[in-house]
Amino acid sequence: MAGTAETLGVGIIPYEKIDEIVKKYKGDSSAIIPILQDIQELMDYVPKDSIAYMAEKLGVSPAKIYGIVTFYAQFRLQPMGKYMIMLCEGTACHVNGAKLISGAITDELGIRGGETTPDGLFTLEKVACIGCCSLSPVMVIGGETYAKLTPDATRKIIKEYQQKEEAAQN
């Protein structure tokens, strides 16, 4: 299970776990991508300090790893919110109004693609296609897929998450 930034403590890097990951790939410098994927799986993001540490272990420059992190869309340098909203912007979703859904989310939460709400609850990530085009427009929140969205349905879904959180706090 992936830990959240909260449970692990933001900024605290479990170096011994990174050692384990690097060891799993036998210190192979061609395994930079899977190592980064494992670090992100563990921390939910790739902390900048972990890049320097990893570079030393693998005997490559931090710049090379940073270059890879920023090249691939999957890697995040900042922790994400509790709920990741993956909004599909594939062709089918675009044709069926993904822009309106994106507008509704921005309207409701005040965040754009790649941003996290100040309360740390939601991160909006726009993705190119999650492969369920016939159900478009779609978004995925915390692994749950919401299909055939309308702006109103989207607002309702987000409000449900917010209410769930409020209820949990009280």
Binding site: I33, F71, A73, G90, V95, N96, C129, G131, C132, S134
Partner: protein, 589 residues
Amino acid sequence: MQDQGKTVVKVGLSTCGIAAGGYKTYETLETEIKNNNLNVELKKTGCIGMCYTEPIVDVIAPDGTLFSYGTVDEEKARRIVAEHIRNGKPPQDLLINEEREAVVGGQVRISLRNCGIINPESLDEYRATGGYKAIEKALKEMTPEQVIDEVLRSGLRGRGGAGFPTGMKWRFTRMNKGDQKYIVCNADEGDPGAFMDRSIIEGDPHAVVEGMMLAGYAIGASQGHVYVRAEYPLAIIRLEKAIQDARAAGLLGQNILGSGFSFELKIKKGAGAFVCGEETALLASLEGERGMPRLKPPFPAEQGLWRKPTCINNVETFANVPWIIVNGAEQYAAYGTEKSKGTKVFALAGKMKRGGLIEVPMGITLRDVIFGVGGGVRDDKQFKGVQLGGPSGGCIPESLLDTPVDYDSLTRTGAIMGSGGMIVMDETTCMVDMARYFLDFVQNESCGKCIHCRLGTKRMLEILTRITEGKAAAEELDLLEELAYNVKEGALCGLGQTAPNPVLTTLKYFRNEYEAHIYDRRCPAKSCPELLTYTINAELCNGCRRCAKRCPTEAITGERKEPHMIDQEKCIKCGNCFDACKFKAVMVE
């Protein structure tokens, strides 16, 4: 596979089925079957391709009769158990047998042969349908050259988009000298709108494994890599299981079936970069680098992974191979046209009545695909165009709907076969916006190595954005066209070379829409927000205030029960009022 005398219930659980609520349906069926102590076998299966009516539940009677149910939610699942299984009276209103016949009946399913039929997580079920018979036949009765010859004669061409003859690629890789050779499966399905590779891996992972083994035997490779998008978690899980099961059964590993042939498979998860679908970029990514393409030659068949001869094929291509080896090249080549043999899978999406996956013989017309199997345009709106091949492809207008679907005919229209994505557009889709959408996508995904792609697509996107905002000057249309040709000719890899296709085809077939945006500052599809004006028809407005409540900028004013007004200065053209009005009083121009 099926116990005699036992009813089998199957639930379609691919990404599409799960997204539509398939797990809940499965769990409900499980509970109901258990609570009622029914002697019924409940199974998971992949996607039959009728994604628009998922979750699909199939009930197969002991005599083999199939009852297919569509959009089965929890309540319908309970009805199926109560009425069909317990009382023997299938609820007629839920049956989709006729529709299934209309959609699936007219298809020729070769690479999708097992999808939606078998349990993808069961090696036994794959073997029961003749699985791993092809590799057995090849290892025992055929030389590697004979395997290559068979694939060559079948006429199979790369299903990833470029359409290079598969047998030829195999032959080149075999002929090139190397102490180690590699097979790579390109499952980095990046075209937004195509999902056949995902569906094949999720629905029939062993077919891909077997296809790769055959390629390994043919070219003399003992190692294979599958490069899968990380966005396809379920595909990765099912493929991992398939590889494990095959290994445990002695179908992967050392000395397979006592033949002396050894083959190992590894999965590599992509990290989200469209350019990695380009083969040299994919290889760079496999080696742990940034996925940037390089010049060809040398081709991967000469110098691929770790500079060794490497054969890269797409998922669908591999899934066809076992069938060809078992049934023979002639049978495969009997389908299709002279230069495009066999069948092709298409992903139908957009404004389509029956969105999903279909597999048809090459050479059938676009009209037959869209209006036949696909059921036509949703809500019976007017068909405008169909985008083929995603961001690298083009948009084809209604006048060309009788074009046969084969590599060469499609290329002549300016579009491409590509991976087989078909996005249907109706009168409400703006073609300029579509071109802008694809350019935006390509611009984001350009790796930045060559100037034509990095800057050329950026400038094209800027012009297109200005056009959709009604701010473009007349001469910019020519500039856009000129840029498009320059990028096409100058870019380093396939991504850049094909990036202008959506612009060039829409300019060719829908130039009037571009002109309307530029000269009349008007969007004929009423889709580009900057060019729209929202007004309220005072005769139809009854002052219910519904629109005013939904307006985010408080641009709508008026007394209750009196006609309302929109302040054009404040209006941000979000369209909320249009959606909110129940009396059709809000007008868009």
